[in-house]
Point group: C2
Chain length 377, copies 2
C-alpha cells in the first residue's frame, strides 16, 4: 500500500521533486529532491546562522547525519554581505558545504534583532545591530539577496507576526505577508526553489485565510511561520494541527524554527515534513544534552567522577570516545572542545530521532514511537 505523490516544479530542471512514499495517520515519510540531492523526509535542518553551524566543520555535519543546512539571510546580508558570497561562487562554496542549503527570508531577524525598525507596505527599514547603519529589506530585496546567496530553497519575505498581537494587527500583518509573497513569486529565479510562508498568528480563521491566500500563489512548498514566538505550547500545537489541513498534500510542509523533540514529534504527527531549530546547537553550548533517557545538564557536579559514556545508546563521536566526567570538566573549564563535543552529540541525537521518525512511519508505528519519546521528553 503505497500512496505516492510526485511533484516536479520544472520537469526540465527538477530543482525540486517531492515524493511521499508512506503515510501513517497524517504523518508522512518521503523523499525531497533538491537540485539533484535526494533527502529523506521528515528532515531536520541545523542552523548555520552566519554561514557555519556553530562549532561544527562541514565534514562533522555529514558525520552526525545532516543532509541540508539552513543559513540566515539577514545575518549574511549584514556580514559578510551577499555580494561577497556571490563573489565566492555562492553560499555552498563559501561555507564548504556540498549538500543543499535553505535560506530564510530575513524577515524574522529583521523584526527580532534590529533596533528602530519601521514597517511599510514596501518592506522594512531597520538599523544594523552591528554598526547602526540603516538598511531596507522588502520582498524584492529579500529575493535579490537570496538569489545572490544561491541557496537551493529560498523563502518568501514575510512579517513574522509577534505574540501577542491583536486580531486586527494580525489580519493586517498577514495581508502584508500575502502581498509580499506575490512580489516574491513573480521574481525571476533560476535553479532555486521558492517556498511561501503562512502567517495568521494564533487566530484560526486568520491562519486559514493566510494559508488559502499563500497556497493560491502556487509555491513549491509551504512553511508555517510565526510559531514558537512566545505563545504557550498548547497554542503552538493548535496552530500546527489547525493550519495543516489548508496546506496541499503533495507539496513539502515546513514548520519554521521548531523545535524541541516533543514539538517535532507533534508536528510530524500533524503532517509536517521539514524542521529547523537552534535548540540542539544552542542548548549544547549551555551544557544541556539530549539523551535516550532525557535531558542532561552536564555541568551538574554529579558527573565529576562519572567515567561512563554520556548515553550508552548513542554511537556519536562524543559518546564513543569520552566520559561524562571529561565532558563535565571541559564544560566547567569553558573549553571550546566542550561546545564541540556537546554539539556533535545533540545533533547526532536529533538526526537519530529523525531517522527513527522516518522508520516508524514506514512501519506504521509512528504513534507508538511518539508515545515512547514523549514519556521521556
Amino acid at each position: 500500500m503505497l500512496t505516492r505523490y510526485i511533484y516536479n516544479n520544472h520537469s526540465y530542471m527538477k530543482t525540486i521533486e517531492f515524493t511521499i512514499s508512506h503515510r501513517d495517520g497524517r504523518a508522512r515519510a518521503g523523499n525531497l529532491g533538491l537540485n539533484g540531492h535526494r533527502l529523506s523526509t521528515p528532515l531536520f535542518m541545523p542552523v548555520g546562522t552566519q554561514g557555519t553551524v556553530k562549532a561544527m566543520a562541514p565534514f562533522e555535519l555529514r558525520e552526525v547525519g545532516a543532509e541540508i543546512v539552513l543559513c540566515n539571510t539577514f545575518h549574511l546580508y549584514l556580514r559578510p554581505g551577499h555580494d561577497v558570497i556571490a563573489g565566492a561562487g555562492g553560499l555552498h562554496r563559501f561555507i564548504g558545504w556540498d549538500g543543499p542549503v535553505l535560506t530564510d527570508s530575513g524577515g524574522f531577524q529583521v523584526y527580532s534583532l534590529s533596533p528602530l525598525r519601521k514597517i511599510s507596505d514596501e518592506g522594512v527599514k531597520f538599523r544594523s545591530y552591528l554598526d547602526g547603519s540603516t538598511h531596507f529589506i522588502g520582498p524584492r530585496e529579500s529575493m535579490e539577496i537570496q538569489k545572490a546567496l544561491g541557496a537551493d530553497v529560498i523563502m518568501a519575505f514575510d512579517e513574522c507576526t509577534p505574540y501577542p498581537s491583536t486580531y486586527d494587527y494580525t489580519l493586517k500583518s498577514l495581508m502584508l505577508t500575502t502581498g509580499w509573497a506575490r512580489v516574491c513569486r513573480d521574481f525571476p529565479l533560476e535553479g532555486q526553489t521558492l517556498f511561501g510562508i503562512v502567517q495568521g498568528g494564533v487566530y484560526d480563521d486568520l491562519r486559514k485565510q493566510s494559508a488559502e491566500e499563500i497556497t493560491a500563489l502556487d509555491f513549491d512548498g509551504y512553511a508555517v511561520g510565526g510559531v514558537s514566538v512566545g505563545e504557550p505550547k498548547n497554542l503552538m500545537y493548535d496552530i500546527v494541527w489547525g493550519t495543516e489541513p489548508y496546506l496541499p498534500e503533495e507539496k513539502p510542509r515546513y514548520l519554521m524554527g521548531i523545535g524541541f523533540p516533543e514539538d517535532i514529534l507533534e508536528a510530524v504527527e500533524a503532517g509536517f515534513d521539514m524542521f529547523d531549530c537552534v535548540v540542539p546547537t544552542r542548548t549544547a553550548r549551555h551544557g544541556t544534552l539530549f539523551t535516550s533517557f532525557g535531558r542532561v545538564s552536564i555541568k551538574n557536579s554529579i558527573f565529576k567522577r562519572d567515567f561512563t559514556q554520556l548515553d550508552p545508546q548513542c554511537s556519536c563521536y562524543t559518546c564513543k570516545n569520552f566520559t561524562r566526567a571529561y565532558l563535565h570538566h571541559l564544560f566547567r573549564a569553558g573549553e571550546i572542545l566542550s561546545i564541540r563535543l556537546n554539539t556533535i552529540h545533540n545533533l547526532h541525537f536529533y538526526f537519530s530521532l529523525f531517522s527513527g521518525i522516518r522508520q516508524a512511519i514506514m512501519e506504521n508505528r509512528f504513534t507508538a514511537y511518539k508515545k515512547a519519546w514523549t514519556q521521556i521528553y
Copy 2:
C-alpha cells in the same frame, strides 16, 4: 656517517629510549621512544593546558601531525583534580589521546598565575585563581600529582626564576631548584620518565652551575627553563647557546615554552630536541596565521573578498577547503569555527616546520633551511 647514541632508562621497561641518528653541526635528528611510542626529534608538543589542546579534538591533533601532547599539572590539579584523572585511568584515557603525554611540574603556573604565593624551602603555598582556596605544592606534591596524572614524561618541580632577577636571587633560586630536583629524583616512579630542569636565569655561570648540579642527578632528560619569561630575544639565544654545552649529548634536551618559528630554529641549531609552546594555538585564536610567506592577520579587511587559499603551499584541512574570505568572515563574526580552522592551520604549519627541520638535518642542510625561514620569520 651515522653517529648513534642509545639511552635506555630501564632496559626491562624502556620507558624511554633516545637515539640520535643524524647530526648537522650541533643540530640533531633522532628518535625518542616513550613507553613503546616512537617519536621523531626534534619534536613539538602542542599545549593541552586543561586536558585539551584548545579547540582541537584528538583525531585532529593526529591529522595535523602531533605525536605527543603537553598538559599542565597546575591546571589539572586545581580542576578537575588529579584524583579525578587517576580515577578515569589516567590522563591518556581521560582526554582520549592514545599517544604519549608530558606534564610540566606545575612550577611555572604556581608562580605566574597564583595570587599570594609564598615560597619556602619545602615548596610553594598559593591561592587558587579559581576559588581562592589555599594550596601547597612542593617537589613531593608535584611528583604525587604527576604520578596520579600518569603522563609518560614528567618534570621535576622547579622555581621558574623571573626576569629580571638579581644575581643573588637567581643563585638562591637555582639552589632551591636543585634541592627540589633531588627530592623528585628520589621519588618512586613506575613507567614514567622524569626530566630535570636547568635554571640559572640570565647569568652564564649560574646556568653552568645549575646545569652541572641538575645533570649530576642523572635524569632521563634535561629541560632548560626560565626562558621566554620577558627577557630580550638575544638574551634568550645566549642562554640557549650557553647552556647547551653542559647538557649530556646522549639524553634528550627540551627547551621549555619555546616558541616562535625563529626561536625554534635557533634552538635546534644549538642542539635542542624538544619544544612546546602555546604560540600556534594562542595566535590562531587571535587570528594570526603562520604561512609559507610570513605571518598573516586574517582579520585584515584586505581578505574580505580574497577567494584564494590561505597558503597555496599548505595542505591542511583549512587550506584545502576554505578561502581567505571565509576565514576572514568567521573571525569577524566571532565564530568557533574560526578558532578551529585557524588552530588546525597553525598546528599543521608547526608540524610541517618540524618535519622540514628533521629532513634538513638528515640531509646536512639545516643551515640553509634555517636561513630560508629566517628570511621570512
